[in-house]
Amino acid sequence: MFVGTDRLPKDERFLNSMVVTFKFVFISVPLKLIFALAVAMLMNKKLKLIPLYRTLYYIPTLLGGSVAIAVLWRRLFAGDGLINMILTNVFGAQNLPAWISNPKYALYTLILLAVWQFGSPMIIFLAGLQQIPREYYEASSVDGAGKIRQFFAISLPSLSPIIFFNFVMQMISAFQSFTQAFIVSGGSGGPLDSTMFYSLYLYIKGFGFSEMGYAAAMAWVLLIIIAGLTAISFRASGSLVSYGSGE
């Protein structure tokens, strides 16, 4: 009866797709959040051109999910691609690998593509930063706190619910990522299954091998994994996130 679910743990390509996806999620999401927070702090400065900067920094997010950018990424990180050309001509690096077609690095190009689309958590962080009362910073600077101390003692705790929200949302969408891997690997998840994301394997099983039952079982397992991880994050957040009114 449970043909699909019984076969899952014995399928090595399935287990590999799980490892690849977990690696992708737990490297790309923290990096993306750190970068988004750093840029949000930059965008929170009082400069005349800030509205322009905010727009420019959001552009990668508007375009990043599209097929065109994935195709471009594939060319950028190819052996004779733009990135290697720049590294060779400007920095004089030699014997560079073909990032996309090397199983060691292919996943990291996709992580970079994900981090590059940091715009939506950035906007949410920015809104959060602007809600922190200025008095906190003024009071703490009277008490002699430096910028770094202020960041860890005021900004981070005040932002913790927002960091948590961003983390959960980004984790959920990272587990479902499909387009980038599909386009960059040419639909194969290669080289050597190193970019075989969970949903890509699901797609290949369902539509490539016509094993729709197996694919449906995989979809259920993914739902359970995401629900489980979200529940764990909510549990763990209890001690890390402060919803205090700031009194």
Binding site: L42, I59, P60, L72, R75
Partner: protein, 91 residues
């Protein structure tokens, strides 16, 4: 009152933001440049600014595939976009 030190800091901050932004937008700028290059020169001419300008990419692209042109693609996208935006806003 603005001190000289403030102004220098402001200038450095602006320069840093612009440099980081350009680095991030580089692939997109390159994509715009590449759209004006003749198709056999896209990867042999790595710079952003094309050595030869051509608009045939846009003209050929607009024709789309076979009998269905880009006007149809745009029309379909617009219908979906408008309807889903309205429905999302209401419900």
């Amino acid at each position: 009152m603005k001190t000289r030190k403030d102004q220098v800091g402001r200038l450095l901050l602006n320069a840093f933001i612009i440099a980081l932004g350009l680095g991030m937008l580089y692939p997109i700028l390159w994509l715009i440049g590449a759209s004006f290059k003749p198709s056999n020169m896209i990867f042999t001419d790595p710079g952003i600014w094309p050595k030869f300008f051509t608009n045939e990419n846009y003209l050929n692209g607009w024709k789309g595939i076979g009998i269905v042109g880009f006007d149809t693609f745009f029309k379909n996208s617009f219908v979906i976009c408008l309807l889903s935006a309205f429905a999302n806003a209401i419900f």
